[in-house]
C-alpha cells in the first residue's frame, strides 16, 4: 500500500529549504544532569569542536536541561535527510554520541539496531521553524566565507 510505505519513510522534523530541525526530548537518568554538565563544562571547544566540525552538515546544536534536572532537550539544525544525519553521527563520532546520550533514559547505544526507533519515539516536530538562509548548507556557508576572505585579499592587493 503506497500510503503505508509513505508513512514508514516519513521521519519527524520540520524543513525550511534544505535544512531540517531536529528536536529530541527525553527523561534523564538519575544524576544524569550533573554528569552532562560535567561533560560539557568546556563547551564545544578544542577537540570536541574539531570533531563536530567533521560532520559538516550540522549548523548548530544544543543540550537544554529542564524540569528540575529530570528532562533534557537536544535540538539541532542539519542539512539533508534524517537517515544520513543519524548515520553521520554514528559513523564519525560513535563514542562521543554514546558519551553524551548515555544519560538519556532508555538510550540503546548508537550501534544498537533499536537506535532509530528510539530516536523517532523521543523526537518532536517543531510547529514553526525559520532559517535565515534556507538554501545554504553548512559547507556552502563555509565555502562562501572562504571565498569572501580570498576576494577581500585579492581586492586589497589591487587597490
Amino acid at each position: 500500500m503506497p500510503a503505508t510505505e509513505a508513512k514508514v519513510k516519513t521521519r519527524p522534523g520540520t524543513k525550511a529549504g534544505q535544512a531540517s530541525e531536529f528536536t529530541l526530548i527525553s527523561k534523564l537518568k538519575p544524576g544524569g544532569a550533573e554528569r552532562i554538565r560535567g561533560l560539557l563544562a568546556d563547551g564545544f571547544t578544542g577537540e570536541r569542536q574539531t570533531n563536530t566540525d567533521r560532520i559538516a552538515t550540522v549548523h548548530d546544536l544544543r543540550f537544554v536541561i529542564f524540569d528540575n534536572d529530570t528532562r533534557i532537550i537536544f535540538a539541532s539544525t542539519f542539512d539533508g535527510d534524517w537517515e544520513s544525519y543519524i548515520n553521520d553521527f554514528a559513523t564519525i563520532l560513535p563514542d562521543e554520541i554514546d558519551l553524551l546520550f548515555h544519560e538519556f533514559e532508555g538510550y540503546p547505544g548508537i550501534h544498537s539496531p533499536e537506535i532509530k526507533d528510539w530516536i523517532v519515539a523521543q523526537q518532536v516536530s517543531a510547529v514553526g521553524f525559520y532559517s535565515a538562509y534556507p538554501d545554504a548548507s553548512v559547507r556552502e556557508v563555509w565555502k562562501a566565507l572562504k571565498a569572501k576572505k580570498a576576494l577581500d585579499a585579492l581586492l586589497d592587493s589591487v587597490n
Binding site: 577581500d152 581586492l155 586589497d156 589591487v158 587597490n159
Partner: protein, 454 residues
Amino acid sequence: MPATDALLLDTSDIQATVLRPRPRPYRGQYVVLRIDEAPEGREMLRRLIPHVAPAEEWWAPTLPGWLGIAFTYQGLKALGVPQSSLDSFPEEFREGMAARATILNDVGINAPANWEYPFGTADMHVALAIYSNDDKSLEFVLERARQTHHDLPAISVVYRLKFSELPDGRNPFGFKDGLHNPHVEGGGSPVQPGSESSIKAGEFILGYPDELGEIATGPEPRELRLNGTFVALRKFHTKVAAFRKYLREQASSSAEEELIAAKMVGRWRSGAPLVLAPEHDNANLGADANRNNNFNYEDDIHGLKCPFSAHIRRVNPRDALKNDLVATNLHHFLRRGTNYGPPLPEGVLEDDGAERGGVFLLIGAHLKRQFEFVQSQWITDGNFISHGTEQDPILGNADGCGVFTIPKHPLRRHLHALPQFVTARGGEYCFMPGLRALKWLASLNDKGEKNAGY
C-alpha cells in the same frame, strides 16, 4: 530666520547645559569635587544653587558665564540621599561607567585601569561644567564656585581641566565640530532645516513623554527626578600626529589625504557633509547652518558618497537604517563637546607629547538605550552595516588592527591597520538634576529626610 518651536518645557528648572549649546567662542573648566561629610556637601550645594544656570537664562545669564552641576552615584550617596532613593536609580548609573567597560568595549588601551584619576574611582562625586566667553569671566565664575566650599574642609577639588575653543571652532583633528544635535521638542530652540523630525523631550529630560510615549517613574522621589537627566561624561585623548601620518601613508596626494579623512568622518574639514559635497570640500556649505545638516542617505544607499562606516553615519544614521528593524529615534542623545589642549601646528607629523582632545557630555534620559547602545552597537561594532567587527574609524579601539571600508566602483577599498586615533582617558555617569531638585538635595538632613522650610 529658522522657525522656533513652542516652548513647552520648564526651562526655569532645567539646567542650561542640557538644552542649550555652549557659548561661542567658549572657554571653561571642568571641576570635580569629593564630599567627605554630607552636611558640608549640602552647605556647598546651598551656596552654589543661585549660580547654576537654568536654560531660560541662557541668552542673558545672571553671571558672566554658565555653571552646570551633576552628581555621580557615589556623590549622591556622599550627600546623604536616602538608600531607597539611591536604589531607584537605573542599574547602569548605580554601577558607574567603569563597571560597564565590557558592555562599552572599554578594553585594551581604553580600559578603566588606564584612566586618569579620579575617573572610575569612588572619589568622583560632583562634576561642575563652567563655560564663559573669555578668561576674565571664567575667573569670575570659578571664584564664585570656589567660595562655595573654600571654608569647608570636607570638600576637596580632585580634578580640574581647562578647555577652550580651537581656532575656527575646529576639533583637534582639524574638523569643524559641534555641528549636529537632535532637536528637542518643546525646548524653544531654533529648528534647523533638515529631514529629521524633532525628538520627544522625554528622551532627554525626565518628567515628559519620551518616544515610547512613556514618562519616567524613577528615580524617586518625583521632586528629585523632575527636569533632571543623565550625563555620560567621556574624556578623550586625540592622536593628531598619528592621524596625519596615517593619511599621508595611505594617500598619494594631499587632495587624496583630505578625501580619505572626509570619508572617515563623513564630513569635510569645513563641516560640509559628503552626501552634499562628495568630491571636494565646500567651505560655504560647511559654514551654512541652514544647509550643513539638511541631508539624509536616501540618495546614497550604497555608501558611495558617505561610507556606511563613516563616523557621522554610524553615530547618527538619519534614514540610513530605515529598512532595518532599528528604532533610530530611541538612540539619540544631546552632545555637548569641548576641546582641551593646544592645537598641533599645521604640517607636524610627529607627536609632540601634548595632552589634547575632547570632553563630551552625552546627555539623555536613558543611558542604556542611548549612550550604551550607540557605543556598543554603532561605534565599536560593524554588524549592523554588514561590516563584521569593523569599528568607527575615529572612535573605535581596534588598537592598530582596525579596518575601514570605503565603498567604491568597481572595487571597494579597505584601509588596514588603522591606528587608534582616539583613546579614552576616563568617563563616568552623572545625574544632572533640575534646579528645584538641587534644592531638594540641599535640604536633606542626616536622616535622609527633607528639612522643613525649603
